[in-house]
């Protein structure tokens, strides 16, 4: 490597040198060269002025009102998500309850109205109507409970805000 090439190569590396983006070996090479080359040392100083200036730029700060607004917005989002999770759980439980009542209701109803032998009787007679009414009422009660719970939570949230 002749002298001119070395100067050019060193200067090309100076922006990354001041950015601390070079490996230790290259950094040491540049430092050695700058120590013995006034022209490259002056060039390095100019780059250091820029990098030092960037490090010392004033830090713009968010206003306290922005930070407070942000905290409130995030807290509301977290509360809303928690409420959605709870609502989902309640809804799943209600649906399970309704299905259990629907599925288990028929044999139970037959057992209560006709005893054990009624299971051997596959005729429906008029019992299906009672069964349908009970099942319908169960689903209606579950749906109403879900709507009432949702309305109550919404009211609680309005009061909290």
């Amino acid at each position: 490597m002749n002298g001119i090439d070395e100067h050019a190569q060193i200067r090309e590396q100076l922006p990354l040198f001041v950015a601390g983006a070079l490996d230790a070996q290259t950094e040491a090479q540049i430092a050695r060269h700058a120590a013995s080359c006034p022209a490259c040392a002056a060039e390095l100083e100019r780059w250091q002025l820029i990098s030092g200036g960037l490090r010392r730029l004033p830090t713009p700060q968010p206003s306290q009102s922005l930070v407070a607004r942000t905290r409130t917005a995030v807290a509301e989002q977290i509360a809303e998500r928690a409420e959605q999770g709870q609502n989902r759980t309640v809804l799943i439980l209600l649906v399970c309850f309704s299905w259990i009542v629907t599925i288990a209701g028929w044999p139970l109803f037959r057992f209560l109205t006709g005893g054990v032998l009624s299971f051997l009787d596959i005729r429906f007679h008029q019992a299906w109507l009672v069964f349908a009414i009970v099942s319908g009422l169960t689903w209606l009660a579950s749906g109403s409970a879900a709507v009432l719970l949702s309305a109550r939570r919404q009211q609680e949230r309005r009061v909290a805000l």
Binding site: P15, L16, V18, A19, G20, A21, R46, W47, L49, I50, S51, G53, L54, R55, R56, L57, P58, T59, P60, Q61, P62, S63, L66, V67, R69, T70, R71, A73, V74, A75, Q77, I78, A82
Partner: protein, 190 residues
């Protein structure tokens, strides 16, 4: 409360943990967003969106990952989405050379209170801030992450989602362009 503990508690919905994280990172996130979008009103909006996104995505955060990088990546994605919406070409092209030099960032630098004997340093900071604003966003962000956030090259690559070589290339070009702008506008005295 440490950052890791705060992150774990936020995953459980603890609002105190959220306050801890916001207090710890508010200046860095806001500064980074302001460097990207340059307009304080837009930076404020994105600041709020960033923390909403943190609350939304915190469960998917990998504790093995650097939280600083993860947080700034969320902020960056929101800022770039915003920039694409308002000005699709602004991500790669330098800003208008005829734009006024007295920008919000330079006003921030100039408005920093200090004694009169530091006016020269403040003036230089103002020039530097003004020159920084004229760079394309891809250079502004690497310069901000390296010199203001003091992130390692590997961390910057993580935030940008680019190879190390790309980060170094942008750092070099950003610094060179910044120096050219300063010397063209204010002479070599800067």
């Amino acid at each position: 409360m440490g950052i890791e503990a705060a992150v774990l508690q936020l995953r459980r919905g603890d609002l105190d943990a959220l306050s801890t994280l916001i207090a710890r990172y508010q200046n860095r996130v806001y500064r980074y967003l302001l460097r990207l979008v340059r307009q304080p009103a837009e930076a404020e909006d994105l600041f709020q969106q960033t923390w909403l996104r943190v609350a939304e995505k915190i469960r998917s955060y990998d504790p093995g990952r650097n939280f600083d990088a993860w947080l700034l990546t969320l902020a960056r994605n929101l800022a770039f989405d915003h920039l694409r919406r308002i000005q699709p070409s602004s991500l790669d092209e330098p800003v208008d050379d005829n734009a006024p030099q007295e920008t919000r960032l330079s006003r921030l630098a100039a408005s920093d209170p200090g004694p009169h004997d530091q006016s020269l340093a403040r003036e230089q900071a103002r020039h530097l801030a003004a020159a920084l604003e004229t760079l394309p966003v891809i250079y502004r962000e690497v310069l901000s992450l390296r010199f203001e956030e003091e992130m390692k090259i590997e961390e910057i690559a993580d935030v940008l989602g680019t190879p190390l070589s790309t980060v170094k290339s942008r750092l070099r070009r950003g610094l060179e362009q910044l120096r050219q702008t300063i010397e063209a506008s204010y002479g070599k005295a800067q």
